[in-house]
Symmetry: C2
Subunit: 475 residues, 2 copies
Amino acid sequence: MNRHRLASELKRIFPPERLLTGNLERRMYSYDSSFLARFRNYTPDAVVLPRSTEEVAATVKLAARHGIPVIPRGAGSGETCGCLAVRGGIVVDLSSWDAIEEVDVANMQVFVRPGVVHYRLNEYLAAYGLFFPPDPGSTRMCTIGGMVANNSSGLRAVKYGTTEQYVLGLEVVLPDGQVITTGGVNCKALKNVSGLNLSKLFVGSEGILGIITRIRLRVWPRPKARGIAMAVFADLEEAPAAVLDVYRSGILPSGIEILDSSAIRAINMYNPEINLPDAEAILLFEVDGNPAGVEWEGQKIVEVVGKRAISVEWATNPGRMAELWRGRSVVAVAAARLRPDGSRIFAGEDISVPLNKVTEALRRIKELGRQYGVAVVNYGHIGDGNIHTAPVINLENPDEVERANKLADAIHRLAIELGGSTTGEHGVGAVRNQYALDEHGAAVNTMRLIKKALDPANIMNPGKLLPPEGGAGGA
Amino acid sequence: MNRHRLASELKRIFPPERLLTGNLERRMYSYDSSFLARFRNYTPDAVVLPRSTEEVAATVKLAARHGIPVIPRGAGSGETCGCLAVRGGIVVDLSSWDAIEEVDVANMQVFVRPGVVHYRLNEYLAAYGLFFPPDPGSTRMCTIGGMVANNSSGLRAVKYGTTEQYVLGLEVVLPDGQVITTGGVNCKALKNVSGLNLSKLFVGSEGILGIITRIRLRVWPRPKARGIAMAVFADLEEAPAAVLDVYRSGILPSGIEILDSSAIRAINMYNPEINLPDAEAILLFEVDGNPAGVEWEGQKIVEVVGKRAISVEWATNPGRMAELWRGRSVVAVAAARLRPDGSRIFAGEDISVPLNKVTEALRRIKELGRQYGVAVVNYGHIGDGNIHTAPVINLENPDEVERANKLADAIHRLAIELGGSTTGEHGVGAVRNQYALDEHGAAVNTMRLIKKALDPANIMNPGKLLPPEGGAGGA
């Protein structure tokens, strides 16, 4: 079906202000935050902005009739081309469908539409003394629908896990346009083991099995207290060892972040006032809970980590906590300033490795950076082995771009070699599906069987998550 | 294929001591803890006791060739006929394959074979300062494989969630005999979002999608301290309200248990020395964490719950904690002693309801008990709305048996009416699949599509979890 015919069919479903078919409008939907999107033209044939399950279902049914790809999209803050029309089709932009429909305080859960922004949800829940623990760095942009589709997490996954832990049920428009509710049609229970666990299958499925239109999330009581410990290390090896010592002392911090020497240097160049000590690594421990428990854990961290660190400082005062956290909070921006013509790119940016391989991973990523002549800054969630590498390159230089791509590939392969994964929290999309066979082996066939059973015509977000049939190539 | 031919084929795979084909031996595998199994003859055609993935795969391949059902089994402690050969076939008893293969302390995970008993695993992990938090009542019997297949939990699900939260990866023999590893073939990372989340799909799938042969579990640092608060209520309504007050004060106890008046009476009859106060409800709060934090939360619970309860007692002394917990620990046994000719049965025993429906559920279960003339004792995990009802009947009286079945059906329907589920933690098996369409509506079709994609010949544990095609009937 040509674009004009498609537009006229979509006009029967959507009012003009929620149907985008102009060239410029469509072009706005041709990129996300990924490196790959900069070099491709993934412009969709049409964009729709639904505000009801019926509109989503009608769109999917239309697409199914004509074999047109459908690509769900949240804020577009992803780094994997996950929300891009890599094979053309209709982008379903859910970001304006942002109703918080019900906060059920008595049952500790909240019902939202997919477009609700993470930050806004937690602001809203705070009035009830509740919170939704996962906290991605993109909190002020990313949507709950996108978080569910990608099983997002962030700083607090060490203690609080990832989005999947909080998903009690989903309304989903399937690839044939049928609507189902997972976790029980009218269920408001917190615990339920009846049926196959479809909720958890859809979490992290990146839109290849259907479009999530309503989300039932478990929320938790907001902790009353918080504290931050900052530890400075002369020897990189001591940092993961200190993390393990903390775990062994019976403490599960809400987050443990690492800045390696590359990150420390970038932060100090970006803002000399922050003035981080010149060291091989800095660890930041965040602890939350009740005031007495937080203080106990802070003192214990000082005692335990102090045996390996040059210095440890513990703070519960909000001003001092913000100061200790300041380096971490600017690292993503600081990386880009490593060189005046540099841009920080998202490629090989999200590997996870076993905790006992973190040191080796950081060392070898630095070596790979030198080998390919690309500056890299490393930071991340060391508490669960999730390393964010920020390559910094001149985007105008094709040779640097090529070397950056080779570096990203080498980092992904390093992750697999070390018994890790190419992605700890950002997802696969069209940039990491080429590694699926290496990571998952024969399990990829099982994933394909499920995909085919639900979407035999392959219209739901094609070219993502799974490698193409018959090979391990890209999208 | 007749039983003798089957036995001779299985002899090529198993040594004689791990292949059971005698009448008495097979009869031993015809029941679990469910009520239904008492009245059926679900004797398998053969029983095998594998000790390797190869043996399991060879068994499944043999079964697939001949279209014979395969039924995985752990300890047989389930209450749903989940491990019984409701359509004949080969029971795969995994309980003797109980190796704890690796405790990887540095990476906070453990690798086990399916037959490891829960209690033994935690005893083993204690030496490393680690633990696997879910704690079913059947801890001394149930296997980790069974826990994964049923997504088991127990007292501590309020804070620690269910088994699924800890499953990082699985080795699974699929219905065609192929072996896959979910969560990454060689992965030891704690965080991994690449690929469809097959691990979580297999958790709770009750053996209908494959046989779990190896389990990679995340484990946590063992908390250093623990405390128990016991609160006594004159008014049943106040008990769930007190639970919510505790949540609102920012506390997430590791467990919150309820004993209603029926349970209190049963416990005091069973052992007058326990001498629980004659009240409408007793709540037991368990708190764990670090010593200072536990004490803070205990005092807060006394303060908050004290506003609604007749009395609240807080203890951290192990002896006193055990005394406070004593009633709860004997309730399952005590229920059976309500009458001299009585047996406690497992039917309608595991509903979950929204927290704000717990009072109504308890009241109406009592009414239903009166209506059907069946004595019931109610206890359970009120913190997540999971109610364990224990009907007590004379098994020799066919009329009572019939009334008990009607009562169980009414309790299951009540759960759905109240926005809950027929099963909070025990599973579906062959006793609750008749409610799947009422609970899940059109999502049952999606479950069926997945089942058919992986097991087109329906040999893996047929008659369980999903209702039979074309209707909402039983197994």
